[in-house]
Symmetry: C2
Subunit: 310 residues, 2 copies
């Protein structure tokens, strides 16, 4: 989490590009070549996705602090897709980017230990240890309560890793459960309070713990409300762009130092070449342009980002 916050401040860019690399988003010439070179459809898909991701990363790594690959879009192409996911994570890290794995993982304690090692830590095989995926942060779902979160906290503090717990999600039906009230507090507020509690058990950097929260841009009032109620919790904010959120909707997620949140955009960056009406040969440059425009849009409504002294 420290690495993520520092990179955000250094680049003055509280944004993350969601690598939801659907084949639909990838220009035809990349897909045609991959299909020609690989008889197996998943090998072809994985090659196209990886080539596409690498070019996007090359084009944005000096202006965007982090990527957020969505695990579902890699599982969609079986283990070959997961190989492309692993290689994407490693490539982005080598380019100095922070990586937020969007997996929304959740399970009982012993199983969460496996997820923690898989995505944030290392796996031992015999006398050797290696990173299975090696991301910096992981999104998780807190429905199972503390013992589904505890196994992640140690690794977060020891190795400067972070988690983002689902609090108030950006989708239309998020209120069906999350807005319901337990006595006088909504479920998302209750989950928010649990995040503050878990965060207190981890290292704190620049005012924020290693336990972040997912709070959607599509519910700006709740976003502002939760910023007030979760002062030590960094927010990952989906829903900007294609899902309908704008700069003014996410403004409330930031604190007086311009810190407190990282805003995600997936489709708006990945399909910028389609919106520009090109044949896709310039997809990476269009992604960079869209990322810079997003950065400018968000920075126009928040204070200059300053790292507070300890």
């Amino acid at each position: 989490m420290k690495k993520l916050i520092e990179k955000i401040a250094q680049m003055q860019a509280p944004i993350v590009v969601g690598l939801d690399s659907l084949l639909d988003y990838i220009p035809e010439y990349i897909k045609e070549k991959a299909i020609k070179e690989n008889p197996n459809p998943f090998d072809a898909a994985a090659q196209a996705i990886l080539e596409y991701n690498k070019a996007i990363i090359d084009a944005i790594c000096d202006v965007v602090p982090a990527i957020k690959p969505q695990a579902a879009y890699y599982e969609l192409y079986s283990w070959q897709g997961m190989k492309a996911l692993y290689e994407t994570v490693q490539y982005a890290k080598n380019k100095g980017m922070a990586v937020i794995m969007d997996g929304k993982r959740n399970d009982i304690g012993s199983t969460m230990q496996a997820y923690a090692a898989a995505h944030l830590g290392k796996t031992a095989v015999g006398s050797v240890e290696a990173e299975a995926f090696g991301s910096d942060c992981l999104t998780v779902n807190g429905y199972l309560g503390s013992d589904g979160i505890q196994p992640l906290l140690g690794i977060c503090s020891q190795e400067d890793k972070g988690i983002f717990v689902l609090v108030k999600t950006s989708n239309p039906s998020s209120g069906e459960l999350q807005d319901k009230k337990i006595v006088d507090k909504t479920i998302y507020e209750t989950m928010g309070a649990m995040c503050e509690g878990w965060g207190a058990q981890t290292a704190n950097h620049y005012g924020y713990s290693a336990v972040g929260a997912v709070v959607g841009a599509t519910y700006p009032d709740q976003l502002t409300e939760m910023r007030g109620k979760m002062p030590h919790t960094f927010f990952l904010v989906p829903g900007y762009g294609a899902q309908g959120g704008g700069a003014n909707d996410v403004k409330g997620a930031f604190d007086a130092n311009g810190l407190g949140a990282v805003i995600n955009n997936s489709r708006g960056i990945l399909t910028a070449w389609k919106k520009a009406g090109t044949d896709g040969r310039d997809f990476a440059q269009q992604a960079r342009k869209a990322a810079l425009a997003m950065k400018e849009d968000i920075c126009s409504v928040i204070p200059q980002i300053v790292l507070p002294k300890a």
Copy 2:
């Protein structure tokens, strides 16, 4: 779900073996061979796990209707682990077993469509379609509400697939959120009512919809309570065995026809050879013996399983 119910009745065995194939559970001679043959640690782990899983499947496929691989224990070994997962699923299906993928996936609608295709459906690449993982059922988390579940329902009805939504989980802290009350109903009851609603949109076989629920054996009172309140929802029941649940704890999950639930056991079956004190060369036969003992234990407290006429 139809396939799962019919296999349970045919074998008179409402049980599923959880393939949480930790390296710790695998006998030394298999691991040593795999490490010797593979310089890469994850290739070695994947080979050992697959060899172990296949032998377990061979030993139990005529007496156990289904396996439940836990995705976390495969992600732990990177894409090589996911390849072993894919091959385990295919192997079990070829042996006639039903496969419940324990992934507890959850996300917004567009992303859930990707998870649905990845685990239950098919993925299109160019003009070709293929199964990414190809399981029969998937466990999911309903914290995001209906639009995280809807994308799964069509595929469930069209292709006889099923989902199991987390309702009341087996872990010690499950009550932190799930037992809290919204007015006069707990959150797990609320989630249970949502499952009944989602299930009403799918095909019904033998009284049960394609939308099942996860309800833990470690809370027997709630299990009995939810059987009464969710008459059309089949239960996947974790927590028997190593987590502490016994036959009398799961009795309440069944209806008058002996249907309504499938009880999971992971560690108790996979590590039966350790409990028996052997060197592990007979691990598959020990697993079969433990599965038969579990079947007998559970069948001793429930009625003979009968498929009701439509």
